[in-house]
């Protein structure tokens, strides 16, 4: 019975070729567009999260208790070498970066602004998050005398700073004294993380420690974790090891990124709903018209003893063929689009200023995940099922004799 239903469904699908092809085309276009958009949305968020992790938070960061509420040098991590020794024993940690920062006044010949001076080790930051790739001008170094500084691009613009210019940083040291220190700009960086690009100057750890009168001290120790699955486990382990510190994951430090990801998920869900409705309406239209114009044929089939379940199977298969062909072709086209957008990216440099304001890259790359294709399959599958309910209801209700009677009575 299934064999005949399958045969009839396939033949009937091409009875009105243009109509069937139009619906298939509709599914292909909406599905491939959806996949491309979903990959792009996810790619945008992934880019933001990655640059934030690479440039600042790592997967986990350690801070002295209360430091994040009151950024004073009274709340810093001390005996850093001991902390580092403990960290090196945790096998899930791939690398870490020790940072010491102080807020103060950054002054140039043109202008003065509030900002943050952050001490880092260039080598550590390179292995931590390939920070060298964020350099847009100058070099990834602190100069021959280690007196150089790397300045965020937005801050450099505000202060009219160029590579080779000098800046003076004034701040309170650990003893409460106001001190100043000067640096020559060796490089300008752009991470996409507005909090860094707009107000941070990176200098060597030795320089800032000396300037602040501190040794063996840090305001933040950021960690990279080998496997994403073990982040929470490492966090718990660290909370036991360092009860005097705040141990925070990247998503706790940057809740806005999670909110943005949630918003993108809503966009994706909305897009799925649109595709679902397009596919369902398209298939529904074709199947309904197809059933109505063949109502006499179905009546005859039922009259001569064809079981209703065979007719139902035939209709379901007709709808499934439409959905399946649309799905296969749509996901194939979507996959090609995703591959292109994941490798070549989409060049949105004409919107550069606006995008960078929110930390997005001007060239956007798409993500590709297998679950996109599963989600799309279920959207089309349920659209197919839903679209045949009403036509099947019509067929279930008809009394073959009433349809045939027009001629028989």
């Amino acid at each position: 019975m299934y064999k005949i239903a399958h045969h009839l469904a396939w033949l009937n699908l091409w009875r009105r070729k243009a109509r069937s092809l139009l619906v298939i085309l509709m599914i292909i276009m909406s599905l491939s567009g959806l996949l491309a958009l979903q990959g792009l949305y996810d790619g945008m968020i992934t880019h933001l999260i990655n640059t934030t992790i690479r440039s600042d938070s790592g997967e986990i960061s350690l801070y002295a208790k209360e430091y994040r509420l009151d950024k004073s040098l009274d709340h810093i991590l001390s005996h850093v070498s001991q902390v580092e020794e403990e960290l090196s024993r945790i096998k899930e940690i791939s690398t870490y970066s020790v940072r010491l920062e102080q807020e103060g006044l950054i002054a140039t010949a043109h202008k003065s602004l509030g900002g943050t001076l952050k001490g880092i080790s260039l080598e550590n930051e390179k292995s931590f998050g390939r920070f060298d790739t964020f350099i847009t001008k100058g070099t990834y170094s602190f100069g021959r005398k280690n007196k150089g500084a790397l300045v965020g691009s937005a801050l450099a613009d505000k202060l009219h700073l160029k590579v080779g210019n000098r800046l003076i940083f004034t701040a309170q040291d650990a003893n409460g004294e106001i001190n100043a220190i000067s640096f020559r700009i060796s490089g300008i960086f752009k991470t996409g993380n507005p909090s860094l690009d707009e107000n941070t100057v990176f200098v060597s750890m030795e320089n800032i420690s000396q300037f602040l009168g501190l040794t063996e001290s840090a305001t933040q120790i950021a960690l990279r974790i080998k496997e994403a699955d073990s982040i929470k486990k490492v966090q718990k382990e660290l909370q036991i090891l360092f009860p005097y510190a705040d141990i925070l994951r990247w998503d706790e430090l940057y809740p806005l990124l999670i909110q943005m990801r949630d918003i993108m998920d809503i966009f994706n869900l909305t897009s799925y709903a649109i595709v679902f409705i397009i596919a369902a309406l398209g298939i529904f239209g074709v199947i309904l018209v197809s059933v109505l114009e063949r109502i006499r044929e179905f009546s005859i089939m039922l009259a001569i003893g064809t079981p209703y379940k065979m007719v139902r199977t035939q209709i379901l298969l007709e709808a499934s063929f439409l959905g399946l062909i649309g799905y296969i072709a749509g996901t194939f086209l979507g996959w090609i689009l995703l591959i292109y957008m994941a490798t070549a990216g989409i060049d949105l440099r004409s919107f550069k200023a606006g995008l960078e304001l929110y930390g997005y890259s001007a060239i956007m790359y798409a993500d590709i995940h297998f679950y996109y294709f599963f989600q799309a399959f279920f959207a089309v599958f349920f659209a197919t099922l839903l679209s045949v309910l009403w036509p099947l209801h019509i067929l279930k209700r008809i009394k073959p004799i009433q349809i045939i009677q027009g001629k028989m009575l």
Partner: protein, 223 residues
């Protein structure tokens, strides 16, 4: 087949009420070649529909092989029609996307006949009904007379106990009507299938062994 005190009323208890059949009592024996005759609206097609299980009587009982089929559910009735009854309609009603061969074998396939058996039966019927050369054509590609012969082949292919034919010659010219009746008669005699027509075609009446005349839903003559 036995019909006992059959009544059929359309739109009962409404201003549009129509008494289509009144107290019909008939028995059909195996191998009969019978025509239900009468003017338009006399109730012959309604009676044919009740015999074929396409409609249910308002009251009364219909028995086939001592089983009361008038009490069957729709699913049971569909099974009964599939296994025991072949239908020939006035408007041929072939499945347009299937070839002549597939149309003839359709019911046999539903009944899960062996493929070889289906092929053999199609060849046999094609030979009797002289449609061998159109087996691979679609219904839209053949004439009305040929389509009606294909409909006959489909109806008799699975060797049902009963063939019901509603005005089978209505859309055919005299030559094709004659040919069709001759073929149905051959099948009736060769395969002992009971055939019941609803028709007022003179040629059909001449060929029938038994004629039941209906007038206003009542049997007025049975000869």
């Amino acid at each position: 087949m036995k019909l006992v005190h059959i009544y059929k009323t359309f739109y009962p208890n409404t201003p549009k009420e129509v008494k289509a059949l009144t107290d019909i009592n008939l028995t059909f024996k195996k191998g009969e070649f019978t025509t239900l005759s009468g003017e338009s609206g006399s109730g012959k097609t309604t009676l044919l529909n009740l015999i074929g299980g396409l409609d249910t009587p308002t009251s009364g009982q219909i028995f086939l092989d001592d089983q009361e089929i008038s009490a069957f559910s729709e699913t049971q009735m569909a099974k009964l029609r599939l296994k025991n009854i072949g239908f020939i309609f006035q408007a041929y009603n072939l499945i347009q996307v299937l070839t002549v061969r597939e149309n003839i074998g359709f019911i046999m396939q539903l009944l899960k006949f062996d493929d070889k058996e289906i092929d053999a039966r199609i060849s046999e019927l094609a030979s009797i009904l002289q449609i061998e050369d159109i087996l691979d054509k679609l219904p839209g590609e053949i004439s009305g007379g040929q389509q009606q012969r294909v409909a006959v082949a489909r109806a008799v292919a699975s060797r049902p106990k009963l063939i019901l034919a509603d005005e089978p010659t209505a859309n055919l010219d005299s030559k094709n009507s004659e040919r069709l009746m001759r073929m149905l008669r051959t099948l009736n005699e060769k395969e002992h299938i009971t055939v019941i027509f609803a028709s007022h075609d003179k040629y059909v009446l001449e060929q029938s062994k038994r004629i039941i005349v209906l007038d206003d839903g009542v049997v007025i003559e049975d000869r």
